[in-house]
Every structure is written in C-alpha cells, then in structure tokens.
Symmetry: C2
C-alpha cells in the first residue's frame, strides 16, 4: 500500500485563514475565536471532550471521526505546537493538549529549532528541521506503513503543497470572516490545477467541506 | 463508551430496494446489477479490490473508508450470507467473499438454522438464532467494546429498526430503479420520527447519501 499524505479536518475562515493574527499562550488561534471557527466539529459526537453522545452524527461527524482513520503519524508546524518563536528558552512547553493529546501516534514537529523528543500518553513528539521532503521521510518511517496526516497550520500545509507532497485534503470552510492571520488560500479554486475538487455544503450549515485529491497518483 | 449499532454503506435503489428479486448463486443481488447499484462505492480508492489508487478520494470514498472505523463485529442476515434457504444441506458454503472476507472482525449471521462457527483469514462467522436483541447481545460481546455494524440485507435492518435497536444509519441511494426485491423503505422520510436525517447528494452524481442518527440517545 502506498502511504499517503492527508490533510484532515483543517478548518479555515470564509476568507481562507486557518488562524487569526497575534497567536499567544492565551489565544492559540490569535484573534480568531476557535469556538466559532470550529463550531462544525465541536457539535459532533466524535469530537473528543465536547458534545459526547448528545452530539450530531451526520456528515460533519463522519469527517471528524475520519481524523485518525488509517493514520500512523502527524506532521505539524512549530506554530501549531507552540506560541513561542525562535530558539527554545527551555523545554517546559509540551503543547496545548494536556496529558493525553488527541493524536495517539508519533507527531513530527517541523521546526528550525530542534529539541529532545518526549512522550505524553500514547503520543511521542519529535522535533525535526529540514525540507518538507526530509520531514516527510521521517514521518513515513514513524507511521509504520500507514498514512501521514499533515496537521497544519496553514503555513506548513502551504510548504508541503509547494513541494507537491500532498495527496489528499479535507478543508472545512467556516462562515466566519477573519480578515488577517495565517492564510491557506484566497480561493479553493487555486488547487484545481493539481487536484480533483469536490465541494459539499454540510447540512448542519456550519461549514462547507472541500475534498481534494491528486489528479495524478504519485509514482 | 457506549457501543453503537451502525448501518454503514447500505445501498438501495431509488425505489428503496437493497437487492432485486431471485437471489441465486450466480446473482447474489437477484435481478439487480450490483455494478450499477454500487457504482458510487466501486469507483472509490478505498473499495477493496476495485479501482485502487486510481479511484476517487472524495465524499464517496470517505464513506467507504468509514466501513470498519470503530467497528468490532458485524451482524448480517442469512440471506446476505448465502443464497440457500431453509436448513443447511451441508456446511460447504462459506459465504460470497473468498478466502479473505472484507470484514476483519467476528460476523454474527442471524438465522433460524444454526451451524458451527468457522474462520476465514481474520473473519470468524458465527450462526445465531433468536430475536434481534439476543443476536445483538452476542455481537456486542464479540465486538470487544467497539461498535457493531448492521450489515444488511434490508430485511435484517428492518427487523432491527422494528426492535428500535439501531443508533445510526448511512444509506446510499443509487439512481437505479428496481421495481421489486428486498425493500428497506418506500421513502427515507419514514425514519424521521425517530432519527435526525441529513441528505447529502454526492458530487460524483452516483448516489445521494442519507445519514440518520437517533433523536434520543439510548440510556
């Protein structure tokens, strides 16, 4: 089985931003309100720690519960892992996700500033510098034959798209307008030269789902 | 975690039939053409043994690849397992699926005619008589804490719906008209008294997906 690189459940605003401006410890999504941006996912039964059994089990839920399906590792950018910039002052920061992160696989953090790996519950974080292709080679190995989820943020997804290393994307477009921040695209049509594109408005009204897959399979 | 009973990827015709009339060894779907009825799934990358990497990876594919996600056992009716009716002449028949069935979990066959369990690859088939509730109790136990997929056919799904034992359904409606056979419904609206209902036309044009989940969660 070919291992794929998949973007799963990345949410952007109607104007294409995955996060607002001014990320900080208090505001991981900057000026964006994550409760508003991610409302489509937060209302589902499958979103960890949220609505639970009372949550919806329609289309949005199917996409949320596909998050880890067939995935053996995640790649994320340094700015998704941490609000800090530049060299690490120390290694106290262990991510936003508490003692039981929702990844349950190795996570490869792409960063210019390496630091030792550490493990929380069943998630081990590795810190790797290099090109997207270098980082991906490590993630494929860590994934043990399964697919790699490209977890964002927008800058990291853009870097992998520029290197033509993405096989499949699910991007949920929320009706929120942000006006600035970390931008994935001006319009989803930008990807249509390289990807098949399906646009599926959710019956929930909380997002329009965009599904992309490569026009030509990788060799 | 509550274990759920989920119908996944059941395909019916525009007039509600999951199979045609006259099932036989040569025609497991009776007068229905499974290639036409199931065209939406057969075109996807995730359908075992079909299009492979050249297959589509849009909405239809997401639903196909959810087939085994979180599932620990399947319940199927005797008519899904076999073209034979009445008592078993012998135990030579081992299903339609060859040496490596696509279930990869225990399968509980609901039948008035019990026979010994057998295993093919990582799928073990058990044969159980009794009410839907009796059969479900065994399937929940076999599922080891995971959900149970109610695999069909239409008669079996109807029996579980009548017993109010279904938590969630995904039914794909194909544009084919069959005019007779094993019927799930006259109209999907029949389930709306007990289930939330989302209708999602696939961008592929090959099916309209109907997603249902209970209005009230089971205790």
């Amino acid at each position: 089985m070919t291992q794929l690189v998949r973007v799963q459940n990345l949410t952007v605003s109607a104007d294409g931003y995955a996060a607002g401006e001014g990320q900080s410890l208090e505001r991981p999504f900057g000026h964006a309100d994550p409760g508003e941006l991610m409302a489509w996912a937060l209302a589902t039964a499958s979103m960890p720690g949220m609505a639970g059994p009372e949550g919806s089990r329609g289309l949005d839920d199917r996409l949320v519960r596909d998050f880890g399906n067939g995935i053996g590792a995640e790649i994320m950018g340094r700015n998704k892992f941490s609000p800090h910039r530049g060299p690490w002052a120390d290694h106290a920061w262990q991510g936003w996700w508490g003692e039981d992160p929702p990844f349950h696989t190795p996570v490869v953090v792409m960063t210019h500033h390496e630091r030792p790996s550490f493990t929380l519950s069943d998630t081990t974080f590795h810190f790797v510098s290099g090109t997207p292709a270098d980082v991906l080679a490590l993630a494929f190995e860590a994934a043990g034959g399964r697919d790699v989820r490209l977890g964002g943020g927008a800058q990291t997804v853009r870097a992998f798209l520029d290197a033509d290393l993405v096989d499949q994307l699910h991007v949920a477009v929320s009706p929120v307008v942000l006006g600035g921040g970390s931008r994935l695209w001006v319009s989803p049509a930008e990807l249509e030269d390289r990807f098949h594109h399906e646009e599926v408005p959710s019956p929930s009204g909380l997002a329009v789902h965009h599904l992309f897959w490569r026009r030509v399979s990788p060799a």
